[in-house]
Symmetry: C2
Subunit: 300 residues, 2 copies
């Protein structure tokens, strides 16, 4: 069994970029022309809308599959359509794997005891029992250590990845994550909870599949966490549309040039919202290339 | 539009109990005889397993519909079966509503910005666009105030309920929730974030649909939070199988006898695991009656 973390690092080295593509398909962001050609509008039923988001994802996957190491579907955008949306998510995961892309599923799950185990099995079990099996997922730490452990256990058993939300990029995060306890930030206490599982699961390139979500908007936090979790991969979300700064992005990487994947969603999926005349396979590919080039510039 | 919180209080008064039933359907907890009669085993496909959990839920709903105000499906147990499980969840929600039961969907979602809005719309929108529309949901606060606000906004717009995980019942919760900042616990700071939305949405019985998840295992925390959030309904989970104490349960209620709903899952759904000879409609109904009687004893 090849570890997620080793496959990720090999993909990063092969594609020569830590940039990954978020798959946040939203009907109201898609170009009118694309929707009209498929007869999708506000009156369309859930199954037709869900099939449309899958078809849009296919276009994005075909545009970027040879450029990036991984994609990050955001579960909320699929749950909006209920079971039809989850069918679209299952098909999206399968299509990404067919194109040799790793799938980091952004679900931000968390619960206690047997419920945490049920979530972990839903997304991380490698026994082929789950149609939503991903290579890695995101989880939240508010419920404490015993809500994290079932995810770590499942991830380590199957060689999967888990990214714990440690320091998120949004302005309102500080009221919780930056509370100071005996001179340390709460996000550092959360990072402490990750470290033992991280140390137990280091792959052949020195990194662990037990990682952290770290926003690029707080360079100081990124620097502290980079020191505290030297073997963890950071998932740095929302670069592009969410406007994370280059200083914060740089701080998420180790001197070896590894240590983070940087995710962009809207800026790649919907170029027509950012000045391009349309969003199609070519303009999406160009948007990905532009972000990859920007990433190279920031990191050099 | 009748508010969730007003309907909940009327149901509590009509049924004369704050006890609600958690719907955590797990194949491996169901009686062998029940599974054999339906030809369900470990080799069954996802669709058959998902249909079985729905059928089991129907038995539970029929057993308890006239006894309790609400049910609380736990999303993890449905997500285990992927889209087939979500179909079972949609059908379960619909069957509960047909039986005049309120549905508190335990999803513990949380994310930032437009993603939080997508989650809120998935579960709380009252415009009939979502097949997973519930009366209330649970959410997590680690991402801060701007991750809570989209849920509060959607809930208030449609008269729905939201229960923020403030102080959970598990032993590992303390490492986060009981950190002390300037003499106050982190869970009190989280409660501060709830209070403004709570005050803006008080129904005709003096309570708000913006509530809190508060574990019964920490009586001191329950007392503090009861004082801090006098108008919030507390969702007190896991009584029974998780062994919450009676002192903590009492502390979650106001002197008016209202202020909380107390949820039991396994102890009601699977009486055969707790000394009964079988789990069927009759023994499930008896288990619910026993817990309701226990609740009365604790609160009097």
């Amino acid at each position: 069994m090849k570890l997620f973390i080793d496959r990720l690092i090999e993909q990063i080295q092969q594609k020569k970029t830590p940039c990954i593509v978020g798959l946040d398909p939203a009907i109201d962001r898609m170009p009118d022309s694309w929707l009209q050609a498929r007869e999708i509008d506000k009156q369309s039923n859930l199954a037709d809308c869900a099939e449309a988001i899958y078809q849009y994802n296919l276009m994005v996957l075909d545009a970027v599959a040879d450029l990036v190491p991984a994609v990050k579907p955001q579960s909320a955008y699929y749950e909006l359509f209920g079971s039809a949306g989850i069918i679209a998510l299952e098909k999206t995961i399968s299509a990404a794997r067919d194109r040799n892309l790793l799938v980091i599923l952004d679900v931000k799950r968390g619960d206690i005891a047997s419920t945490a185990t049920a979530y972990a099995r839903s997304y991380l079990s490698g026994d082929q029992s789950s149609p939503l099996e991903a290579d890695a997922i995101t989880i939240v730490p508010y419920l404490g250590k015993d809500c994290l452990d079932p995810f770590f256990t499942e991830a380590i058993q199957w060689g999967k990845g888990v990214f714990v939300c440690v320091k998120t990029s949004n302005p309102g995060a500080a009221i919780i994550q930056e509370q100071k306890i005996d001179g340390r930030y709460l996000y550092e206490i959360v990072a402490d909870l990750i470290q033992p599982a991280c140390k137990k699961s280091i792959g052949k390139y020195g990194y662990s599949g037990i990682g952290a979500v770290v926003g690029a908007t707080y360079p100081e936090a990124a620097r502290r966490l980079r020191q505290q979790l030297p073997n963890s991969i950071f998932l740095v979300p929302g670069v592009g549309a969410q406007g994370g700064g280059s200083e914060g992005i740089k701080a998420c990487f180790n001197p070896d040039g590894l240590g983070a994947v940087v995710s962009s969603s809207r800026a790649i999926m919907y170029p027509h919202l950012y000045g391009s005349e349309d969003s199609n396979k070519n303009t999406i590919r160009q948007a990905a290339l532009d972000l990859i080039a920007l990433g190279k510039k920031i990191l050099n």
